[in-house]
Amino acid sequence: MSACREMFARLSEYLDGELDPEICSRIELHMDDCPPCQAFLESLRRTVDLARDLPEHELPEAITRELVEAYRKTRESGGN
């Protein structure tokens, strides 16, 4: 259980490829023998993928035009 706890603290860094190869190997070795940690890691990976899958926002064209116009006016009045 303490091994699980130790793994648990590093799982995001593991998913992000931010750990030394030696620590990665230790995590993978532990995962091979620990189905709950394996399942948990998979659920965390899916959580991150779902966040990344959210659609991008677009600035409405009306706001873009408004901003460009406001900028043009400050430029013309020498306020840039």
Partner: protein
């Protein structure tokens, strides 16, 4: 052209005082800034005001940004500060970090809850929308300090270093908050969308 190279060209045209540079900047970053503002401030008029103010103020100061690699961190720093200023007018945020112990799964069943796979969501638009709404709500439930790190790292795709610079915190704090934010989001998704491991295999 990669984004660093196109940011370099954008910064060059700003320094040349090219009149078209502002529109190019707004079209490239406006949606991202608005999206970030909406996810931090909530979907209110505040978010639109923050986005518009940020784009105008940031553009004026962009002449001083020398390295294209620094542009994103710098821009998100401006927008996150603007969001924080508005937030301070509202509720007080506790500064205490969450304990990892509190986020550990309670037993095997909790650890093995299955979360839907983004790569194989059903074709049904309503079901996809339900999943997105749960993710959106889960992000909204995070305390803002954690939410901002998750937004910058997982949604805006900034590096650990860029996120640290944008939020003026160190890289180990970014990693610590990101991990806790993901764990909390996982918990919300497990409660809303999860199925117990053996009962319902979700193909991946």
């Amino acid at each position: 052209m990669n984004s660093i190279e196109s940011d370099r060209q954008l910064l060059d045209s700003i320094r040349r005082d090219d009149p078209a540079a502002f529109e190019e900047f707004v079209r490239r970053y406006g949606g991202r800034i608005l999206g970030f503002g909406m996810r931090v401030c909530g979907e209110s008029e505040d978010a639109k005001d923050v986005a518009q103010d940020t784009l105008l103020k940031a553009f004026r100061a962009l002449k001083d940004v020398q390295e294209p690699e620094a542009l994103k961190s710098w821009l998100y720093r401006v927008v996150s500060n603007a969001c924080l200023m508005r937030r301070r007018k509202g509720k007080y945020e506790p500064k205490q970090e969450l304990s990892l112990e509190d986020l550990m799964p309670r037993g095997r069943e909790d650890a093995e809850v299955q979360i839907p796979d983004a790569a194989s969501l059903p074709d049904d638009e309503a079901a996809r929308e339900e999943t997105r709404a749960a993710v959106h709500a889960g992000i909204g439930e995070l305390a803002p300090d954690y939410r901002m790190v998750l937004l910058l790292r997982d949604i805006e795709q900034l590096s650990t270093r860029e996120t640290a610079v944008a939020l003026d915190i160190n890289e180990s704090t970014v990693k610590m908050r990101l991990h806790r934010a993901r764990l909390m989001l996982r918990k919300v998704l497990a409660d809303r969308l999860g199925r117990s491991g053996a009962a319902a295999e979700i193909p991946s």
